[in-house]
Subunit: 418 residues, 2 copies
């Protein structure tokens, strides 16, 4: 696959994240306008509500895009998803005869505010990156017992809080919580001291189901992908998570990138899942290349200072694909809905600079990182800005997601003295 | 508090679950009508959509009740909740001058179909009954280590699946899942063999919050209570739950009773939480009597046979109140929304016949129950109907919830061969 040329000149830069090959979906506003659906092309956003009103995009007898979420389009099903992509490609391709009609509907991205691109129905977070699970398990249980017994047989996960999912750019307030210091007999209610990121991808369910589905069906049900930062309060987590799993440690915020990159845009970047130590049971078996070659990066910038890259890894490091996670999610008959969000689990590569969390990068706080500014970090300090980026690299073009950014604000003084 | 007399004669029976003191809220339909809001009074349902259309109930400038959920009313806030209860009490009280206008709007409950009374925003399940936690912990870890270290300090819980919550009467299909028999080296994909109930109460959040709230605020935010059966696949749970907690084992279905009993109706039945082994931290401290004296019962009926009462207990057996659970839920800043549902956790009393799950009643399958029909049970068999009932008993009146019923259907033959 090579670059598809657009009449929007900035989209033809081989390093630009939003070429015609991408066409990611977001929700934007300018000034006091109501947020509405848009598609990114180069440095511009095509106002889809306006394009629909002008009759340039006509997929249904009712408006689909003059709303602040993509759920309505998802409800229309995969044939309409494909029709929209075809239509947008035609409208924005170099030489498109509708250019004169479309050009006035482009909004400079620099002038737009980006909002949550979907209404998250429910949110599930998995733990399906092998290096991450091995690293965390090694810290807590030693390398022999690092992976739980079920880990190589099912993509284990837990339900998170959809209400806590926020769009990139939303500041994140350091949480309070009940935690117990190792040297104290009793817990205390304190601001989190070990606040962390988790570098993940999020898969968005676009088709509902009401019973067990196969891995292939699950792949067909996925609408697209975002970058996802699962902010994690490690000290709260350590105290609360046995035996019911993470709860308040993961409920402060989960940031996602503002643009939903469609499965169609990622198709050329499919890669195989890794060799299986145990053969997967039939209902979870791989059906073709199910991961994607997406380069991922995390930077950290202390308040008012330049950013340092603290991790570089790749989505192809996952052990289980999003389709396998979704198939597992339905085994019990669990109904899945349009807008359900599935976090991949933290993505870490095999070597130290490829680790997707500070817990791993600083090895539980024992090995501080040195930033380019000379400062050191174990976990996040107040004022730090954490940024995730992702890029799939084709021949002469790049598929990007837009940054997934969050700045950590100091904890409230005392949430119970207002 | 004594019986408030109604002109609906059946409501004045001291054993009837729906006297004027109760006025629980549900969603009903008759024939081909659209489901809409109604309130139970004796053997009748007052059609609130019709009462609003007739101008008998006027709480807002827009219709609140001609919808198949109570979320819109909840959104109006506690002052409107109180105004509705006052108005309904006036309309239905013995001697009410509007009787002639109201009487034609009553629908016999026997002719109505009951639906989900709310849109569940998100669902959280706690583990806050001490006897249950002790029993389960004893089975798995022995009595000395029965309670996890955090248990006496926070109401531990996990996020469940809102999409799996169903109204009483909905059949429940025995799930398939990945599980590992103790005598096998590897897991297999099989129908659940240890399908179970959990006797719980559900609290419904009626007021949103966007940061930590106190226990008193949390109590004010609760709109009402339902009975809740957290269907549990014990063999799937045993294999999957470490280290991230229950997931598919709890995602098949969670049944709730059809009537939301308001906090106002339960007010006379408040009881104290138990003595605390460790003083709770300030943000979780009790503020007055926070539990309710509600008698709870579970019956089991094999296909075509009469029911046997298999457990009797009381909501006052809880260690943590719903308000304490909700307050804990917000400590991290987790946003809570109207329609969030909080399961109490399984409620068990101190003695064997007071245990709220088959896991405890049959002590992990080792001590089968004998039903009145002479049959024995360890876990649920296909065709069994499980029913939860609840009653708070006042002087000359009863506050009921309506039954929470579910019949277990056989597993699909093979969900992957369709």
């Amino acid at each position: 696959m090579t670059l598809k040329k657009s009449w929007v000149a900035s989209a033809n830069d081989p390093k630009h994240p939003f070429p015609l090959n991408n066409l990611p979906y977001g929700v934007f506003s300018t000034g006091d306008d109501e947020p509405r659906c848009g598609v990114a092309i180069g440095d511009m956003i095509l106002d889809l509500a306006a394009a629909e009103a002008e009759g340039l995009v006509a997929l249904a007898d009712y408006p689909l895009f003059d709303v602040p979420y993509w759920n309505d389009l998802m409800e229309e099903g995969p044939a309409v998803w494909a029709a929209l992509r075809d239509r947008l490609t035609a409208l924005l391709a170099a030489g498109a005869k509708q250019r004169d009609a479309v050009e006035p509907l482009l909004v400079p991205m620099a002038e737009a505010t980006l909002h949550m691109p979907l209404v998250v129905s429910e949110y599930t977070d998995f733990y399906a990156g092998r290096n991450h699970a091995f690293n965390v398990g090694t810290m807590f249980r030693g390398p022999e017992n690092a992976l739980p017994p079920n880990w190589l047989h099912i993509p284990i996960g837990y339900n998170g809080r959809a209400s806590s999912v926020v769009v990139s750019g939303t500041p994140v307030r350091r949480p309070w919580g009940q935690l117990k210091s190792p040297d104290h007999a009793l817990p205390a209610f304190l601001p989190c001291r070990r606040f962390d990121i988790e570098l993940e991808m999020g898969a968005i369910v676009g088709t509902p189901s009401d019973g067990p589905i196969t891995v292939q069906e699950a792949d067909d049900h996925i609408f697209g992908y975002v970058l996802l930062n699962d902010w994690s309060a490690r000290d709260i987590q350590a105290w609360e998570y046995q035996p019911l799993g993470p709860f308040q440690a993961k409920a402060t915020a989960t940031s996602i990138s503002p643009w939903i990159v469609t499965k169609a845009a990622l198709e050329p970047f499919r890669t195989d899942t890794p060799a299986r130590e145990f053969e997967l049971l039939d209902h979870l078996k791989d059906c073709g290349p199910m991961l994607y070659d997406i380069e991922l990066e995390v930077t950290m910038a202390p308040e008012g200072k330049p950013a340092t890259t603290i991790a570089r890894t790749n989505y192809k490091e996952m052990y289980y694909s999003a389709a396998q996670q979704l198939a597992h999610h339905t085994t019990s008959g669990c109904p899945m809905n349009v807008g359900d969000l599935l976090g991949s689990g933290t993505i870490s590569g095999a070597t130290k600079p490829e680790r997707g969390s500070l817990l791993e990068l600083s090895w539980g706080g024992k090995e501080p990182l040195t930033l380019d500014t000379g400062e050191t970090r174990t976990f996040i300090e107040d004022g730090d800005t954490l940024t995730l980026t992702g890029a799939a690299r084709g021949e002469g073009y790049t598929i990007g997601f837009g940054d997934c950014v969050g700045k950590v604000l100091p904890a409230l003084e005392n949430p119970y003295q207002r």
